[in-house]
Amino acid sequence: MTPAAFGGLRAEGLALSRGERRLFTNLSFTLGAGGLLRLLGPNGSGKSSLLRGLLGLAPLAAGTLFSGTSASAPPLRPRALCAGALYQGHASGAKGELTALENLALSAALDGTAGPADESVLREALASVGLARQRDIETRRLSQGQRQRLSLARFALALRVPARPLWLMDEPSAALDAEGGVLLARMLAEHLARGGAAIVATHLPVAPDTGRIDELRLDDFAPRRGEAREAQAAGAAA
C-alpha cells in the first residue's frame, strides 16, 4: 500500500507563551508533502512547546493553522492535526512495566498502524530498529537510547499505512548512537519520499539526504526586549 501524501500545513502568526514569558511571536511556516521542517534554537526557545502547540497539547497564544499550503487553504479546527499526526515527545511514552513488544502493540493500536493480530509485523518493526533481542524485556530495564529506538519502531510501523502522514518528533536522536542516527535519517528519507512530512526539533544533524528541508530558527522569532517587557506588563495588567 502506498501511503497517501501529506495534505500540507500552513501556520501563520503563531505565538506561544510559557507562564508569563512569551517564547516566540509572529512565527509562520509552510510545510508540504515531502517536506521536513527542522526546528532549531537554544534550550527554552520553544521547540517542544511549538510541537505541543500544533497538536493542541499546549495553548497557542495567537495564530492560525491552515490545512494546505495554498493561500486559499481552509483553517484547521483545533486539534484536527492530531488524527493525521504521529507525535513523539520528550518522555518515552512507554510503560516501564510492559515489555518492548507489549508497548509497541499498545502504541500501534492507538496510532492505528498495526492491529493486535499483526504480531509478526510488530516483531519486524522491533528488529528494524535493532531491538530484536530486547523484545521481551521490560521497558524500564532498557537504556535511554534503546527506549528512543522503541519510539522509532512506532514510526517504522507508520511507514506501512497512510494513516499518519505528519511526523512530529522532539529530539528523536538525543540518546541515539551513530548507527541509530543513520537509521532515523533513513526512516525520515523513506517517509518523505512517500509524500509524508515531518517537523523535527533537534540540535543534532538528522537531516536525510532526500526531501525538501527547511530550517526554522525559533530564536529569530523571540520577542525583542521591549516587546517582551510590554507583553509582560500587559500580562500583569490582565
Binding site: 497539547l57 507525535y87 518522555a91 512507554a94 510492559l98
Partner: protein, 224 residues
C-alpha cells in the same frame, strides 16, 4: 479503531498494567480490611455496638480506600508521557478515560465488594442485610471513582495533588456515604432500602455519563 474500540483498548491496557503492579491493588484491599478491623478493637467486642456501626464503618473504609487508589489513576501516565500520546493520537479521550475507570473499578472497587461479606460477619451484621450492603457498594463505588477521576484529572501534576484530591472529593462523597450506609441502616431496622438504592443508582448513572468527558477536558487542561 472505533469509539468502543478505544474504550476497550484503554480497559485492556490498564488491566494488563494492574496485573504487572498487583501490589497497588493489594495495598488498597489491605487498607480496607485493616481499617475495618481497627474498629472492633477500639470500641470493644459488644455485638450490638458493632452491628450498629458496622455498615457505616465499612462504607467509610471503602470510601477512604477509593481515595487511596485515585492518585495513581492518571499520575503514572502523566509522568511517562503516555497520557500525551493518548491525547496526541486524536482518539476520543472520554472513551480512554471511561476505559481506564472501568479497569480501575474492576481492580480496586470489585475486590472491596468481594471482601465485604467477611467483614460483615466480623461486625455481626444480620445476614438479611448483606445483599443490601453489597448492592449499595456496587452502586456507590463507581460514583466515588468517577467523582475522584475528575478531581484527580484537575489536580494532575500539582505538587499537592493527592492532598487536594482528598479535600475536593470528601465533600462530594457525603451524599454517596449517607445513602449507602443509610440503605443498610434501613434494611437492618426493617425498613425498605429501595429509596436509598434508587438514589445511589441515579447518582451512579449521572456520574458514569458525566465523569469521562469532564475528566477528559480536565486532563487536556492539566497537560498544557
Amino acid at each position: 479503531m472505533t469509539e468502543l474500540g478505544t474504550l476497550a483498548w484503554a480497559l485492556r491496557r490498564d488491566l494488563r498494567l494492574a496485573m504487572r503492579r498487583r501490589g497497588d491493588a493489594l495495598n488498597v484491599l489491605g487498607f480496607f480490611a485493616l481499617a475495618c478491623s481497627m474498629f472492633p478493637l477500639a470500641v470493644g467486642p459488644q455485638r450490638e455496638w458493632l452491628t450498629r456501626i458496622g455498615p457505616g464503618v465499612i462504607w467509610v473504609a471503602a470510601l477512604l480506600a477509593t481515595l487511596l487508589a485515585l492518585p495513581r489513576l492518571f499520575e503514572h501516565d502523566h509522568t511517562d508521557g503516555t497520557l500525551d500520546a493518548m491525547i496526541a493520537s486524536g482518539r476520543p479521550l472520554p472513551m480512554v478515560v471511561a476505559g481506564k475507570l472501568i479497569a480501575a473499578w474492576l481492580v480496586t472497587g470489585l475486590p472491596l465488594i468481594v471482601l465485604t461479606p467477611v467483614l460483615a460477619v466480623a461486625f455481626s451484621l444480620p445476614m438479611h442485610a448483606l445483599p443490601t450492603m453489597l448492592a449499595s457498594l456496587v452502586l456507590g463505588t463507581p460514583t466515588l471513582l468517577g467523582l475522584g477521576a475528575i478531581a484527580g484529572a484537575l489536580t494532575l501534576g500539582l505538587k499537592a495533588g493527592p492532598t487536594l484530591v482528598t479535600l475536593l472529593c470528601l465533600p462530594l462523597y457525603v451524599p454517596v456515604l449517607v445513602f449507602g450506609a443509610g440503605a443498610v441502616e434501613a434494611q437492618v431496622s426493617g425498613l425498605s432500602p429501595a429509596a436509598h438504592l434508587a438514589l445511589l443508582a441515579a447518582g451512579m448513572l449521572v456520574v458514569a455519563l458525566a465523569a469521562p468527558p469532564v475528566a477528559a477536558q480536565a486532563l487536556r487542561i492539566s497537560v498544557e
